[in-house]
């Protein structure tokens, strides 16, 4: 939670970090969470932060 | 010596022209910090500074520099070298920092091996100095033969006098730049301004606060490596950061390593390194010849005051005072010099 807020604070889009508590027995939850995350990342588009042209 | 005049009103015109013809590197103010950066127009330059927070040594030895890129699979290897240095003008560097560059020259150009990267930048850069108009409490360039209006190492030296800059032409390179931009330079009244500059130099020379006396210091360091002094104060308070070495205009230590950019591609990088870091001398087997801050502090000051002198016949310090100002715990090289002098006298 702190890291999420910190990342947002330095300018990362909030959706780029997701932390979920998923037990080894919760396969369905894992799958749906992953779907959600991919969906979210896709809608955010390519990350522009920390993509500086390296000199 | 040849000299010219630039009216202050003409300066921005000159800088704009230089920015067009060359890569122009000049002091820039970012919030509270003055540093040297490439600028595209005269209005980005910030000349009302006394001593920049970071020296312009990065013009010749950038903090990070690509040596080459590689594509390597184990069975095949391809190396691509970066483009060579562009024509550059370094404008507005202070005399101490320019002297520092002449201190770096023998390291990178002399002895057995040269250094392609440094030399090509050095050759392609015209250095335009800017005399100081003020002396800070941490300044002590006079102690090593420098001065606030000293032109050593510069191709051109600008000195601000009233509404004009008095321009001394110190090298052919400088002359060529003046010739190519003659519309900005005039020759009237240079004799008077030469006198004014002398006056200014004299006045500023009297304003130094730090008293530095090197008498006997070199001899002491020559004679005794294991001085009890190194067990005292400085190393206890040192926190082992690299600030002093990174702001120092004469520190030239670097690291070389690979920065992978893909599975089989990467860049070989050279970047500044600091003798204050423990892993600086740490060998793969685990042995470290300078294991504690004591050895590292000693090495840093021995390097400045003895080793550089032994090797290149120049003191490895130009008295810019940055390390004094920036040190988090106020380790002061002038105090160390004076302490050592005292040790020498009492020996």
């Amino acid at each position: 939670m702190l890291l999420k807020r910190l990342l947002e604070y330095v300018g990362f889009e909030p959706g780029r970090l997701t932390a979920r508590w998923i037990s080894a027995s919760e396969g369905a939850k894992f799958a749906s969470t992953m779907d959600e995350v991919t969906e979210k990342i896709k809608s955010l588009g390519p990350n522009t932060k920390m993509r500086d042209e390296i000199l | 010596m040849k000299a010219k005049i630039v009216n202050k009103g003409q300066l921005s015109g000159l800088l704009d022209k230089l920015a067009k013809d060359y890569d122009l590197v000049a002091p820039v103010k970012e919030e509270t910090i003055t540093l040297f950066k490439k600028i595209s127009s005269a209005q980005d330059a910030f000349l009302d500074y006394t001593n920049s927070d970071v020296s312009p040594k990065g013009c010749f030895l950038p903090q990070s520099e690509k040596i080459f890129s590689y594509t390597y699979t184990g069975d095949s290897l391809e190396i691509v070298k970066p483009e060579s240095a562009k024509k550059t003008v370094l404008f507005g560097a202070r005399p101490c920092d320019i002297k520092a560059i002449t201190t770096l020259d023998p390291v990178f150009e002399g002895e057995k091996f040269g250094d392609e990267f440094y030399s090509s930048k050095r050759e392609n850069t015209v250095i335009i100095g800017l005399s100081c108009s003020k002396v800070l409490s941490t300044c002590f360039c006079y102690a090593f033969g420098g001065g606030p209006c000293d032109g050593t190492g510069s191709d051109l030296l600008f000195t601000e006098i009233g509404d004009k800059y008095y321009v001394e032409i110190n090298t052919d390179k400088g002359q060529a730049l003046v010739d190519a931009n003659s519309q900005f330079f005039s020759s009237e009244n240079t004799d008077q301004l030469a006198k004014d500059k002398e006056e200014l130099a004299k006045k500023l020379a009297g304003e130094f606060v730090k008293k530095v006396d090197l008498t006997g210091v070199k001899e002491l360091l020559d004679s005794d490596f294991e001085l009890a002094y190194w067990d005292e104060d400085p190393y206890k308070k040192c926190i082992g950061c690299g600030t002093c070495t990174y702001v120092c205009p004469t520190c030239h230590c670097f690291d070389i390593f690979d920065f992978t950019t893909g599975d089989i591609t990467g860049d070989r990088i050279r970047c500044w390194d600091s003798c204050m870091y423990p892993e600086y001398t740490l060998m793969a087997g685990g042995h470290n010849p300078r294991p504690t801050r004591k050895e590292r502090i000693r090495n840093r000051f021995m390097h400045k005051l003895k080793y550089h002198l032994d090797r290149y016949n120049m003191v490895g310090c130009v008295g810019c005072g940055r390390c004094i100002r920036k040190c988090p715990v106020n380790i002061d090289i002038t105090k160390i010099i004076n302490d050592l002098k005292e040790v020498a006298q009492n020996a």
Partner: protein
């Protein structure tokens, strides 16, 4: 402040004479008028080097780590903020309580030395400093100067949480009232209000200046790892190459690594040679810790678990 200096010296002398400690770590006059430097006193005769005033910004608790394996006991002079470091180090089992003696000095605020130095003639010598409540008077050989605390103090002092040491074996001088000259998290809130792009641009500009001198890390009293992740060669998590990406990773990692342990002493901010507002990152975490877990500043009480090291059923969560 002459009186406090005298009392610190006396206390140090007594401790050394009675062999209660082998070493006293305190503040001594620096090489600039408005600066002090850490001094390490090991004999009763040496105590005259100790001083006190509005230029004692360093957090000396950091040095306790250097002496944790030393045979003798060590005394250290701490301000309110530094004392939180002492507690943190004790709670992290970095140092043992019976080997340290804490000389606490309620602190009337610390001035930014460079700002002060700009106003005083370079060749002046310091005579005395006087605390006048909302200002300090700095008496020098070339005249007296008054510095308003509001304008000349370090930012961390403007928002000081507690000027009085929270742990001390000996307290020098009177306890001082908490006096804030600014809202503690005002700067953080201001930044929070910005849009994502603006935030990003702001920090990119700051981080791109970073020299990676690691002064912020090395000065930090809760940075106690034997091998820092930034020095580790294998795997090389963060490259030495200085560019915006690597610098950003460095700063986020550093800030997060001390989350829940950072005592908000503000040393990282003070030592940065490039004036990167490092503390603003830590303060953001402090603010969130307060908002989310209602946790007090680490080190303000002994035995306080780190907010990230403690779990209670009432903790808010966003990850189930």
């Amino acid at each position: 402040m002459m009186n406090l200096t005298k009392q610190i010296r006396e206390q140090a002398k007594k401790l050394l004479e009675e062999k209660k400690v082998d070493l006293v770590i305190g503040f001594g006059q620096g090489t600039e008028l408005a600066r002090t430097t850490p001094v390490f006193i090991d004999s009763p005769e040496g105590v005259s080097a100790l001083t006190w005033g509005p230029f004692c910004a360093n957090n000396l608790a950091k040095y306790l780590i250097d002496y944790k394996n030393a045979p003798g006991n060590v005394a250290v002079v701490v301000k309110g903020c530094d004392s939180r470091s002492v507690i943190r180090l004790l709670d992290d089992n970095q140092i043992s309580r019976d080997k340290i003696v804490v000389i606490g000095v309620p602190c009337a605020g610390q001035l930014e030395w460079q700002k002060v130095a700009d106003e005083i003639k370079p060749d002046a010598a310091l005579k005395e400093t006087v605390d006048n409540g909302d200002s300090f008077v700095v008496k020098t050989s070339t005249g007296d100067h008054t510095f308003n605390k509001k304008d000349y103090m370090l930012h961390r002092c403007l928002v000081c949480e507690n000027p009085n040491p929270v742990i001390a074996d000996f307290t020098i001088g009177e306890e001082l009232p908490v006096k804030n000259y600014a809202e503690r998290f005002a700067e953080v809130e201001e930044l929070e209000q910005l849009g994502l792009e603006e935030k990003s641009a702001y920090w990119d500009k700051q981080f791109s200046r970073c020299l990676r001198c690691y002064a912020c890390r090395n000065v930090c009293s809760v940075c106690t790892c034997a091998l820092c992740v930034f020095d580790q060669m294998k795997p090389m998590w963060v490259s030495k190459r200085t560019n915006l990406s690597e610098n950003t990773v460095f700063h986020i990692t550093r800030a997060f690594h001390v989350a829940g342990r950072c005592v908000d002493c503000g040393e990282c901010d003070r030592v940065c040679p490039m004036d990167i507002p490092i503390r603003k990152l830590n303060q953001k975490i402090h603010k969130d810790l307060k908002d989310l877990f209602d946790s007090p500043t680490p080190g303000s009480k002994q035995g306080l678990l780190s907010a990230l090291g403690e779990f209670s059923l009432g903790d808010p969560e966003e990850f189930m």
